[in-house]
Amino acid sequence: MRFDLSILWPHLPFLWKGAVLSAEVCLLAIIGSVVLGALVAIARTSSAKPLRWLALAYVDLFRNVPFLVQLFFFYYGLPELGIYIDAFTTGVIALSIAGGAFASDAIRSGILAIEPGIIEAAEVSGLSRRVIFTRIVLPIALRTAIRPLGAVLVNMILTSSILSAITLNELTGSGRIVASDTFRPFEVYAVLLVFYAALTYAVSIAVNLLHVRLNRGISQDVA
């Protein structure tokens, strides 16, 4: 067979729109899942038992249900209760909720690894709980958590391709449309492969840079 990318030329604007949509969904979901993951990690390390219990239930539930089922539940199930959310918002929310469950695990183990004396030093100096968390606990936890967290985020980008199942024409959805219009699935999916690889690679690079920055001052660990 022939490999001819020029055949895709007229469809590029359409594919590009899908790619931008994918990037937008992923960016919002990355923010959503990190924020949610941090909040749930706080809840899971809190001294209030009901809070810990609730957080654990959330993590267990969303880690143990297929993402596609979660997605269908939000998009096709909730309207039965009179709750209508558009496909884009549903995608962002579903990815954030699922990603947040995994992200909270990474952040939580980072928090648990912190030397208790460091937090005690912060407490006795009179810092508020909010300042202790944002200025001390979170940055130290992220030093070790950033790599596992990066893996969660990369996984989330890959999972975003499933959103085409709820009529969202992100990149994979657009690709399928173009492939069936042109009968050239090979070229279409080759382009998609390159795009997803580039997107996840960009996230990996960002994570590495963050890792170096967060670990400033630990000479042996900067890599």
Binding site: I118, V124, S125, L127, S128, R143, G217, S219
Partner: protein, 244 residues
């Protein structure tokens, strides 16, 4: 005044502090001696609110550490230096020192940094403000730890075996700084195994034994034959410490 009244602390079924009374006036240096496990660290941790009391009362300038509303005020008045430094590893020496003054005392950043640099210079680290803890020696870290506590301008400085993680040379450096502070009138509650040093800088020495504060004497009296040395536990403790 810093005051502990009839303080009681239990861990499970062990009584760790048993009716401890102690008061420290501004300007005083009080050393706490006692063998391992006698409750010295626990007493310090009760004063700075890291442990809850099971009985009695601790007040720092009238602020009761057991009352959540007063704890913040009590903590502003005391500063703690830790055995293992407990510096914030992701912050430079300067950031370690300025965080609380900026956040708690609302000092402008420039002012906090100016004061921090002055403190660092005072302990011989004038050029290491931008170093991270991992880039400093143990002795240097502890000096930063002392600066971090002093930056809050505490009325009472609490020190728990601040040199026991250091080698002899670094210990001498840090003790030198503490001696300067004592001469300068800084109030200190000083838990230590450095008996000779305690003798040189303290106004008073208290001795803890199995959670009970058995002796509270002016330094000279503590070391005199008729004073502290007349208590068999103390004579035994001191002779053992001197041998080590």
């Amino acid at each position: 005044m810093l005051k502990a009244e009839n303080v009681r602390k239990v861990f499970g079924s062990t009584v760790v502090l048993d009716g401890v009374n102690l008061s420290v006036q501004p300007g005083e240096v009080v050393s706490i001696l006692g063998s391992s496990g006698s409750g010295k660290s626990t007493l310090i941790r009760c004063i700075n609110g890291l442990e809850k009391l099971d009985g009695g009362r601790i007040t720092v300038d009238e602020f009761d550490v057991s009352k959540p509303r007063e704890l913040a005020e009590a903590r502003k008045r005391s500063g703690t230096v830790f055995q293992l430094f407990n510096l914030y590893p992701h912050m430079t020496a300067l950031q370690n020192i300025t965080l609380a003054p900026i956040q708690v005392l609302q000092q402008p950043k420039a002012e906090a940094e100016r004061k921090a640099r002055a403190l660092l210079a005072q302990v011989g680290l004038g050029d290491r403000g931008d170093a991270y803890p991992a880039q400093l020696s143990g002795g240097q870290r502890q000096r930063v730890g002392i600066c971090r506590a002093l930056a809050m301008e505490p009325r009472y400085l609490l020190l728990d075996e601040v040199t026991s993680a250091l080698d002899p040379e670094m210990t001498a450096d840090v003790l030198g700084i503490l001696a300067d502070l004592a001469r300068g009138g800084t109030t200190m509650v000083f838990v230590t195994h450095e008996i000779e040093f305690a003798r040189q800088i303290s106004n008073r020495i208290v001795f803890l034994d199995k959670g009970k504060l058995v002796v509270d004497l002016p330094t000279a009296a503590f070391f005199s034959a008729k004073g502290g040395m007349a208590v068999p536990r103390i004579a035994q403790f001191l002779s053992k410490m001197r041998k080590d």
